[in-house]
């Protein structure tokens, strides 16, 4: 049973992920953030549920839709924001932007703009843990679309074969960019593929953070004990488009409306209130805390300069 403190931290992180992404959407629309932004509003239960089982030194690989995963791993919000703004004190000196935020110290070891690109790399960090006899686990996040890349199949086979301490977390939001799952695969549950590689596989309601945590906890324990990898499929919903500004013409208006019924934050708040962990007024406290953190982070990012042009040539080679 989870303690109250942990539960409230999970709620705080989910709200933080949501509000950060809402803010990014606004700032992007206002022209303050260049490039592309991919938000995962509606998917907060997955990242927070999974990362709540991890230690700082455990590794996660995030995706192009990875803000939530990084925040759930408790990455510093100011440097996170500075990175998205392309500023010099961003985690990657502003060179990565929204799609490639990493902070090794926080265990956000890598992030990928290539769909399915991190799966093979996560084998490497898991292998390194085994090589050194450490109990560190690696979680590789990816989407349902990535499960049709060859790298998915190569990686699952090897992870199972070598009993690697890795959890493959599929955030199944039902959309591979603009294409619905039923259009691109026959299976309903991606976790079913685990069996064919000889590993544990489970599908969980990704909109229920406690259920996600419950399954993730089992997977992490298995990995830490050297009992091998897990394919953890978390079914959730992407409320917005593939990128900020995507008009979603490929999606029925009713479906766009319908998915909001499964709000993982509202559901978790309801649980916490009904179970008398907190009163309704507590939600306001969290919102205030999150808002001031985000304001501070945005201020930091906006006032932080862009790196000097010399930085263009730095770090091509060590």
């Amino acid at each position: 049973m989870l303690g109250k403190e942990k539960l409230l931290e999970m709620l705080y992180l989910m709200v933080k992920v949501r509000r950060v992404e809402e803010r990014l959407t606004e700032e992007f629309a206002a022209g303050k953030i260049p490039g592309f932004i991919h938000v995962g509003i509606g998917q907060e239960g997955v990242a927070v549920g999974v990362c709540s089982c991890l230690k700082t030194e455990d590794y996660i690989f995030t995706t192009h839709r990875g803000h939530g995963q990084a925040i759930a791993k408790k990455i510093d919000l100011k440097r996170f924001m500075a990175e998205i703004y392309g500023r010099k004190d961003g985690f990657c000196k502003g060179k990565s932007g929204s799609m490639h935020i990493a902070s090794k110290a926080d265990g956000v070891i890598g992030s990928n703009g290539i769909v399915g690109g991190s799966l093979p790399i996560s084998l490497g960090t898991a292998y390194a843990a085994k090589y050194r006899g450490e109990d560190r686990v690696t979680v590789c996040f990816f989407g349902d679309g990535a499960s049709n890349q060859g790298t998915f199949h190569e990686s699952l086979n090897i992870a199972a074969l070598w009993n690697l301490p890795v959890i493959f977390c599929c955030e199944n939001n039902g959309w591979a960019q603009f294409t619905a799952q039923k259009v691109y695969m026959k299976l309903e549950n991606i976790s079913k593929r685990a069996e064919s590689y000889g590993m544990a596989g489970v599908t969980v309601d990704g909109n229920d953070v406690l259920k996600v945590r419950n399954e993730a906890e089992k997977a992490v324990a298995r990995a830490r004990k050297g009992e091998g990898p897990t394919l953890l499929e978390c079914k959730t919903h992407r409320w917005l488009g593939h990128y900020v500004g995507d008009a979603q013409k490929y999606r029925l208006p009713e479906e766009i409306k319908e998915v909001r019924k499964y709000d993982p934050i509202v559901r978790f708040e309801k649980y916490l209130i009904e179970s008398k962990y907190v009163g309704p007024e507590y939600l306001g406290t969290i919102e205030n805390k999150v808002r001031s953190e985000i304001d501070e982070a945005v201020r930091f990012a906006e006032s932080n300069p862009i790196a000097d042009v010399d930085e263009l040539y730095a770090d091509v080679y060590a």
Binding site: G94, I121, G124, A128, K130, G150, E154, S155, D315, Y317
Partner: protein, 323 residues
């Protein structure tokens, strides 16, 4: 000094570096029990165990991914891709991941990854087992590309590559594996990024690499009889390119030929010719000529008509001299 084969030089370098540094491991198809498709990792499994000599499924993208992740976490992997042609199935992992990890994450990581792979033709291995793709990798910022021609250079450069904190595409030539050459008994390193003047000469500079070094040396010997003194520069490292050594030679000879086994069009010869024209056109007394394969895949049956040989170098040098 002792005489060993090119493939043994590779195996010795791996053995010495694995013995020296516990973070070094090899990963790839058939690298364990079989000791590699060509014998480059022979004996390592028995000596260093299964974690450090890791056989994989036929999953090239995953092999490179494993190397990348392990390097991000502080190990020094050596990935073997059985034929250079097979690298095409892991290009995302090499180009988008390996080459960019350090830069993209703002210098957060060192990427000490070596990818060993045999390239080139000459064994009648057909269109999908005979290519020379070095220019692909040399075109990608973040990668280093090494192509040794002799057992001495193979050993010294592989040791340097393993100790380098950057990704190195280490292209061995499969038709050179049996070549014998002298190496010192004691340890030595051949630095990355330094070309070697394999034969000094004053009339024409021929810049070359890998197996074409031997054809060029043979050509130089033939041309000597005709009174043409060829300087043969073995690049050894394709990227970073040792411009200094090339420029010094061209300053002396004023004539330049570039010879490589890869398809001539868009190859490294084009880059070298362009660099010389851009930076020292006044030194040139003749057009720069390139020797390379025609714009065709390497066929199984007509391979010898496809791959450039000693005669092709002779003809190009004569043309430049006669200009």
């Amino acid at each position: 000094m002792k005489e060993i084969r090119y493939i043994k030089a590779i195996a010795d370098a791996l053995d010495e570096e694995m013995g020296r540094d516990e973070s070094v491991f090899v990963v790839g198809e058939d690298v364990g029990g079989p000791g590699g498709a060509f014998g480059g990792t022979k004996g390592l499994l028995e000596k260093y165990g299964e974690m450090r000599v890791k056989d994989t499924p036929i999953s090239e993208a995953a092999i490179i991914g494993i190397a990348i992740g392990a390097a991000m976490d502080g190990l020094r992997p050596i990935a073997e891709i059985m034929f250079e042609d097979f690298i095409t199935v892991c290009m995302d992992q090499i180009v988008n991941q390996l080459a960019k990890t350090r830069y993209m994450f703002g210098g957060m990581y060192k990427m000490p990854v070596v990818i060993r792979t045999p390239g080139g033709g000459g064994l009648n291995a057909g269109p999908q087992h005979s290519q020379s793709l070095e220019s692909w990798f040399a075109h990608i910022p973040g990668l280093k590309v090494v192509m040794p021609a002799t057992p001495y250079d193979a050993k010294g450069l592989l040791k340097a590559s393993i100790r380098d904190d950057n990704p190195v595409i280490f292209i061995e030539h499969k038709a050179l594996y049996a070549l014998k050459g002298e190496i010192p008994e004691e340890e030595y390193i051949v630095p990355i990024g330094k070309a070697d003047v394999k034969r000094p000469g004053k009339d024409v500079t021929v810049v070359t690499a890998s197996k074409m070094v031997h054809h060029t040396l043979e050509a130089a010997k033939l041309l000597e009889n005709e009174g043409i003194d060829v300087e043969v520069i073995d690049l050894r490292t394709i990227s970073p390119l040792d411009k200094e050594t090339i420029f010094r030679s061209v300053e002396k000879t004023s004539k330049l030929v570039i010879a490589h086994e890869a398809v001539k069009s868009f190859g490294i010869g084009a880059e070298i010719a362009a660099v010389v024209c851009e930076e020292m056109i006044d030194c040139l007394d003749a057009p720069v000529l390139r020797v390379g394969a025609p714009f065709v895949p390497v066929p199984f049956n007509l391979e010898k008509f496809c791959l450039p040989d000693t005669n092709a170098v002779v003809q190009a040098v004569k043309k430049v001299v006669g200009y």
